[in-house]
């Protein structure tokens, strides 16, 4: 257990473990991206810089989700409840559906734009992550009234 003022970070709690996991994954993604940037120093082109910026935004989004979960825990509320679970389920379904079209578009672009396979795959994966984040934000703002 880690103690911080009146808040106890109980790592035996499964919800707390999940919240910490969000930070861990975000940290690993950031660390890997930093390594990639350091290794390609001086060789990074505009596409790489844009990709790095997008990764930064996605990490910020993950950190926001992690803090939101911890805030709920601190208030004595569950980190996840039926609304957050249904928003997550609908987000996953929507983003999967949109991702199918995204990959079709990527295949179309592949033959027309001069891009490495790695860059193309990276852009596709980032596109999927952005789609997920956007769907989550829209559903979280709009609500689930007619479900």
């Amino acid at each position: 257990m880690l103690y911080n003022s009146n808040f106890v970070l109980d790592l035996n709690n499964i919800n707390m473990k999940r919240s910490v996991l969000v930070f861990l994954v975000a940290g690993l993604v950031l660390l890997t991206s930093l390594l990639w940037m350091v290794n390609s120093a001086g060789m990074a082109d505009l596409t790489d810089t844009i990709q790095f910026g997008v990764i930064g935004l996605l990490v910020a989004f993950a950190v926001f989700i992690g803090f939101r979960r911890l805030k709920s825990e601190r208030r004595g509320e569950p980190a996840e409840d039926e609304l957050s679970k249904s928003i997550l389920q609908k987000t996953a379904a929507f983003s999967y559906y949109i991702s199918l079209y995204l990959w079709v578009a990527m295949i179309y672009i592949k033959d027309r734009v001069n891009m490495d396979t790695e860059q193309l795959l990276g852009t596709g994966i980032l596109g999927m992550a952005i789609t997920f984040a956007l769907c989550w934000l829209i559903l979280n703002f709009r609500g689930m009234r007619h479900e």
Partner: protein, 66 residues
């Protein structure tokens, strides 16, 4: 579906945090319910009605009834 959660909460002198803790959901869920942005599960509707000591029909009003 409309509901009287805000009104009942005020009558029972209860905050959104209090109600959220009593029915074991996040405060945002209560906010969404009060803004009619979310239709709760039967279980949650039952729990909320139980907190106020009334029936589900007295808390949640279907559009055809309003």
């Amino acid at each position: 579906m409309n509901n009287r959660i805000r009104e009942l909460r005020a009558r029972h002198n209860m905050t959104q945090d209090d109600l959220a803790r009593k029915v074991n959901v996040r405060r945002e869920t209560i906010v969404f319910l009060e803004k009619n942005k979310y239709n709760p599960s039967l279980r949650l509707a039952y729990d909320i009605a139980k907190v106020f000591g009334i029936t589900i029909e007295e808390v949640f009003l279907f559009e055809s009834e309003t």
